[in-house]
């Protein structure tokens, strides 16, 4: 059974002056999934999300949400968290939330209870009658998130949802997103934090310079990169690892390394070389991490290559 497509972006382009922000971009999002729109700063993520929300019109191409191209008809079923704070600074938190629900077609009285529940869950209950500008950046982000969810949307579009949140809140938001997914809602989020994306998304769309360079189910994408990457956790100075024979590419950080093996080379030889000089606590041969894929595809110098092979 093919999953129902909630959002379909087809050959969409958008140009600002001489900058081609989005270039013949196509992808689709299935109901009940979390899709990550990944890319570097300026890749065209935000522009794409704005077009989906009917804020910008595409220069070319079509966007269908819930099977229609009429953004006005479906906007009440979408929840949107913009990249930058989109709230009135001088307005009180509760008033603000009720206003946001009201412009999505809900009577304030009807959503008040739900707003209270959300505020409690996000630990903002005692701030409900404070003005927004009195809140910290992270708390403002949480208010914004409640605003995107309060009207019970079927499709939730989040532009950098974790920005400004501390680790505790990141975990909280992640679990909330998983709950929303379990309820059958569809989530499209953009991020450039690969580690975060890897923990929760089902599908990815990696865009670079306005084009999709990689798209599909996360696990499939990863395995398509083969199982020839060694993930190493250790104590000691691992700088030499990049020079070990058989290592085609290496990223060595403090106490962790991700080493891609050249075809035909032996992981055991690498392990033997490492054991002599480092205390190894973890050794795994697996698919490359999303971060590694990201850097290989869209990192410095990858532009030309990515432009040639528009995958999907």
């Amino acid at each position: 059974m093919t999953p129902e497509v909630v959002l379909e972006v087809h050959e969409v382009s958008k140009t600002f002056g001489r900058v081609r922000a989005v270039d013949a971009l196509s992808f689709s999002v299935a109901r009940g999934t979390i899709t990550g729109l990944l890319g570097r700063n300026g890749a065209g993520k935000t522009t794409t999300l704005r077009m989906i929300n009917g804020i910008f019109l595409p220069d070319a191409g079509a966007i269908d949400v819930f099977g229609t191209a009429d953004a006005a008809a479906v906007r009440d079923r979408i929840g949107y968290l913009p990249e930058e704070r989109g709230l009135y600074r001088k307005m009180r938190v509760m008033d603000q939330l009720l206003f946001l629900a009201e412009i999505k077609g809900h009577r304030p009285a009807a959503v008040k209870g739900r707003a209270e529940a959300w505020l409690k869950r996000f630990d903002l209950w005692d701030k409900r009658s404070g003005k927004l500008e009195e809140l910290s950046k992270g708390n403002q982000q949480k208010v914004q998130l409640i605003g995107a969810l309060l009207h019970d949307p079927e499709l939730v579009i989040l532009d950098e949802p974790m920005s400004g949140l501390d680790p505790v809140n990141v975990v909280l938001v992640r679990s909330i997103l998983k709950e929303l997914k379990a309820e059958g809602r569809t989530i499209l989020l953009s991020t450039h934090m690969m580690g975060e994306a890897e923990k929760m998304v089902d599908d990815i769309v990696l865009i670079h310079e306005g084009k999709a360079v990689l798209a599909g189910e996360l696990e499939q994408v990863k395995s398509s990169f083969g199982s020839n990457t060694v993930h190493l956790t250790f104590e000691g100075d691992g700088a030499f690892l990049a020079g070990v024979p058989g290592v085609a590419a290496a990223r060595v950080d403090t106490n962790v390394a991700e080493l891609r093996l050249a075809p035909g080379s032996d992981a055991q030889a690498l392990l033997a070389a490492a054991v002599g000089r480092l205390r190894i606590s973890h050794f795994e041969i697996a698919a490359p991490s999303l971060e590694e894929i990201f850097i290989e595809r869209v990192g410095a110098g990858a532009g030309a290559k990515a432009a040639e092979e528009v995958a999907v």
Binding site: F16, G17, R50, N53, G54, I55, F56, L57, A72, R75, D76, I78, Y80, P82, E84, R85, G86, L87, Y88, R89, K90, M91, F99, L100, E102, I103, K104, G105, G147
Partner: protein
């Protein structure tokens, strides 16, 4: 529509809850009253304290000067009071000047007699008792020479009010003396010299006649101010609000949730309601004040209510709304095409200048409500609401002109609203980039 109402509620509550709004609403009438009356008061007060030396070369005019101080009842305290005192002064027998005069008869050499006083005027500082504000010299040939001139020396030649009063007093005294010279006694002279008062009476088609022209002029002025000031204050508020929504990116949420038409109409209606609230409060306060001071004025014999035709009140609301909405929409365009408050500020000056035009021309319009200037200005879009209202207050413009003014205003408001909605949609999200004409055209078709 319900979304527009949500925006309306938000905009209205945001402005009305502001301390600035509450303070402005409460003190503006007093501020206005102060602006109108304080200069008059000061001018009157300025005369009262004045001390003038009158050097009389004829030596026969003592009766006219300096016998008594003005009683408090004669001191005008307001414009209405001035009206009263003007009437009072023209009554025979009451000829007291609200000035202190030192009368010096100087038959012979007037110049020599005046010299010490001129010295005192020149040295005039410090000692209060010796202070002198002016010296009036009546030449000795005042009775015989028709070309003779009264000379008034003072440190400020701009004191027209004092000069006028002195000249009146001297001429009156001269006339009395001339008549006395022909054997006519003082009482008879007063009868002969009696000046009649002129009273303005406004006629209207309905046949009704109305007295108190000066006051209706004043009323026109006050109402024009009432019409204009909310526009000035809240129009800028619209512009600032829109720019703020842009810089704070709230606009993304708004635009992704509703049509820009709903957003704009909610905003404009919300602010119209704000304006009506304020105007309503002011009118209520004005009515209270009028009821209070009106009682006092009634005792004094002036009927303030005569000047206000209650039939103009509905017109007031009609023209207020039309004028207000016109400028709210103009300001909204300014906000939509600006990317920062600084940029928006550049639009404020010119828009305000345009809004001020009828106000700056209020004097000629109120004085000659049927003039070509008033008629033309009252039929030019943007200027029409305030100008036509001023005309309605002081005269009775032809009905077709009023209708044309209202129709023109409505068309103007709709045109500006439509334009604003379109520009709004394009301009509001052009972060730092001006939309290209092609883009603008595409939005015009879609929005």
């Amino acid at each position: 529509m319900s979304k527009a109402i949500a925006v309306l509620k938000r905009e209205y509550l945001e402005v009305v809850r502001k301390k600035m709004f509450i303070i402005m609403t409460l003190i503006f009438p007093f501020l206005m009253a102060a602006l109108m009356f304080v200069p008059t008061l000061l001018a009157v007060k300025g005369i009262q304290g004045k001390r003038v030396a009158v050097v009389d070369g004829t030596g026969k005019l003592q009766a006219a000067f300096g016998e008594r101080e003005p009683t408090p009842a004669e001191q005008p305290a307001s414009r209405a009071g001035k009206e009263l005192s003007k009437r009072a002064e023209s009554q025979p027998g009451v000829r007291a000047l609200p000035l202190k005069t030192d009368y010096v008869p100087a038959a012979g050499d007037v110049k020599a007699a005046a010299q010490p006083f001129l010295e005192r005027l020149r040295e005039n500082d410090g000692d209060k008792r010796d202070r002198l504000d002016g010296v009036l010299v009546i030449p000795s040939d005042a009775f015989t020479n028709t070309d003779a001139k009264l000379l008034y020396y003072s440190r400020a030649v701009s004191d027209l009010m004092t000069e006028e009063r002195l000249a009146n007093a001297v001429n009156r005294a001269l006339s009395r003396e001339r008549l006395a010279g022909r054997g006519i006694d003082a009482a008879e002279a007063d009868r002969l010299l009696k000046r009649l008062e002129l009273e303005g009476v406004k006629v209207s088609k309905s046949g009704e006649e109305k007295k108190g022209g000066e006051l209706s002029f004043l009323v026109g002025f006050i109402f024009a101010a009432l019409l204009l000031f909310p526009t000035m204050i809240h129009g800028q508020e619209v512009m600032r609000g829109i720019v703020l929504e842009k810089t704070e990116r709230v606009v993304e949420i708004l635009i992704s949730s509703m049509r820009s038409f709903d957003l704009l109409s909610g905003k404009v209606m919300g602010l119209a309601l704000v304006g009506l609230t304020q105007i309503g409060a002011w009118l209520a306060m004005g009515a209270l004040m009028a009821a209070y001071t009106g009682g006092a004025a009634l005792v004094a014999g002036v009927n303030v209510f005569q000047a206000i035709d209650l039939r103009v009140i509905p017109w007031f609301f009609v023209f207020f709304l039309l004028g207000y909405l016109t400028f709210v929409c103009i300001y909204a365009v300014g906000g939509a095409i600006s990317n920062s408050e600084k940029e928006a500020q550049q639009f404020m000056g010119p828009i305000m200048m345009v809004a001020m035009v009828p106000w700056m021309l209020a004097f000629p319009i109120l004085q000659n409500p049927e003039s070509t200037l008033a008629t033309v200005l009252s039929l030019v879009p943007v200027f029409t609401p305030i100008t036509m209202f001023m005309r309605v207050i002081v005269s009775e413009p032809p009905m077709w002109q009023i209708a044309a003014s209202v129709a023109l205003s409505i068309v103007t408001v709709i045109a500006f609203f439509w334009m604003t909605a379109k520009i709004f949609r394009v301009g509001i999200l052009s972060y730092g980039k001006r939309p290209s004409p092609a883009e603008l055209w595409r939005w015009l078709k879609v929005a």
